[in-house]
Amino acid sequence: MSTALGQQTGEWLAQFTKQPSTTAWVQELRDRGFQRFAEVGFPNTHDEEWRFTNVAPIARTTFAPVAAAAEPMGELPKGARLATLDEARRHLAAHALLEANPFVALNTAFLGDITVIVVERGAVVEQPIQLTYRTEAGSVIVAKHPRTLIVIGADAHCAIVETYTGSGHYFTNAVTEIVAGDAAVVDHYKVQLESLEAWHISTLQATLGRSTSFSTHSISIGGALVRNDVNATLAEGTDATLNGLYLVNGTQHVDNHTIIDHAKPHATSHELYKGILDDKAAAVFNGRIIVRKDAQKTDSKQTNKNLVLSDEATIDTKPELQIHADDVRCTHGATIGQLDDESMFYLQSRGIGKRQARDLLTYAFAQDIVDRIKVASLKDSLERILFEKFHEHGK
């Protein structure tokens, strides 16, 4: 173990051992999580998966112990219920693997108040399941490791909205596992509205059943340093949509890594990530599509579009296709562009000022992602938030 790694893990070890005790099988998971984290430590930019995202600020920081773990707020809608830990046993940490990501290992080492939600087979949950994780940081920097497991039975319908928000300087290290049964219909939204000083690292791991229809929308607006991993494993005939919108200015850094694993035939996936960057902000998009040998008739489309409003913003975008089957259709495309001069002139020629024209076009760029949001309350609040953020941009 190198000295740096020893220092890193040493400080986390103190916190790790101070945790309140838990049931034996959870403690076993914690131990495995910490052991893995102690082995690998925080990733650095020599690590291909982390090439463009430097987490050294997190690795260097000593975090204050957290009194209470993150706890989602709000009541659950009819058709969804909180489950006991024992009900979670089969799935917890069985989908988001420790080996895949040191931050998942770290989160698992700190399994505390775990949110486990069950939607029974055939249930139709009409209202969205709202999970809000809020951190109010005081004078010390705290780390939180929210862990969410949502188990959706076959043929069930539900929508889930995860919101991460807070104030001050803190570190959120979230892991969400979603397991959806056959023919379930699931719309998932993750809204990242952390404070602009916060560090936010998250992993969503979705394991999807046969003919399941799943969509996830990752909206990233807050945070100083943000990394979102969204991974979906598809079964036969699964239809998966991964959408994302990231909006960064100042010196914000946002990294979206996605993996769509076509494990079985006849599945379709659509991925659309759009980003708007201003000032000295930086964004990373890495979209991996795996088509396994058996996954014939896979239909996959990936698109990443970026609107860059300043000369100093940077974007690194990379598709990563690993195709092992021969009868498949996979397309991908990435664009990086600026506001269209002709559109600007058209708006101005109708009396709309330059500032407003810029706001309008910027907002319009994000519009098709927002339009795909089916939860009306979320769509409304997002439209307002986006408009305000865009408006600030032009000032």
């Binding site: 020629s349 109708r350 009396g351 709309i352 000022g353 407003q356 309008l360 076009l361 907002y363 319009a364």
Partner: protein, 258 residues
């Protein structure tokens, strides 16, 4: 009174001089047709008047309603009553026609110290104007020009003009790409907006449009200069003998042979 006075206007795109000394006076209520073969500078003149950044004015002046037009930003020109109907209306996905037009109208009204229209007043007014252009109201909720047919786009331009009520309308090849029915409809819309206060500059390659929008004056542009001016009969003469009859080379087939 002269609404628009162009004096010895020279303009370039990059290193190339396109307008080589244009002088033109347009009084209130007059309709002037600018004709000319491709590449003669017609669209450049329209673009310069509307404030398109692509062009650099190297010399000359343009006074509009007593003010220096060239000093004004495109949006200020629009607020002062200048309107350009685009040859190629721009598609703007994500911005609804309604939102766009309401924002534009209210900017112009604010500039004129008029109260802004609320959603209901706006809608009532807009419905009237849509009837004039025989436009489907569903187009209001569609994104600006997105997925519109060529004819719908051109009608949308004149519809915008009807809503924004400019003092000076510049129609840049509004007839291009229109079939005869669509052309009549657009011309009808334009004619209904003619009045003693409003002036128009109708830029066209072909004489046909001028059968329906009868101009007070016709100017023939060639190689960046006005080579001939006259009344509406000049357009008819062009139809007879083509640009060649005036000794002007036209890249495409001459007018009149169509």
């Amino acid at each position: 009174m002269a609404l628009l006075e162009i004096k010895d206007l020279h303009a370039t795109v990059g290193d190339r001089e396109i307008l080589k000394g244009i002088s033109l006076t347009v009084n209130s209520g007059e309709v002037h047709a600018i004709m000319g073969p491709n590449g003669s500078g017609k669209s450049t003149l329209a673009g310069v008047l509307a404030g398109r950044e692509l062009y650099t004015v190297t010399s000359g002046q343009v006074r509009y309603n007593g003010k220096d037009l060239l000093e004004m930003a495109p949006e200020d020109r629009a607020r002062e009553g200048v309107f350009l109907a685009f040859q190629y209306p721009v598609e703007i996905p994500g911005v609804s026609n309604m939102y766009f037009l309401k924002a534009a109208l209210n900017q112009i009204r604010r500039h004129q110290d008029l109260p802004e229209l609320d959603a209901l007043d706006f809608l009532n007014m807009v419905r009237e104007k849509m009837k004039l252009m025989d436009m489907d109201q569903a187009l209001l909720n569609r994104p600006v020009n997105t997925g519109f047919s060529g004819g719908e786009k051109k009608r949308n331009e004149i519809f915008q003009m009807a809503v924004l009520e400019p003092r000076l309308a510049i129609l840049d090849e509004t007839d291009s790409g229109l079939d005869i029915d669509a052309l009549k409809l657009v011309a009808h819309g334009v004619n209904s907006l003619r009045n003693a206060e409003r002036s128009m500059i109708v830029v066209t390659h072909y004489q046909r449009l001028l059968n329906y929008i009868v101009p007070d004056y016709v100017h023939v542009l060639s190689d960046g200069q006005i080579v001939k001016s006259g009344g509406k009969e000049l357009a008819l003469q062009l139809e007879e003998s083509g640009y060649a009859g005036l000794g002007i080379a036209d890249e495409e087939e001459a007018v009149g042979k169509t």
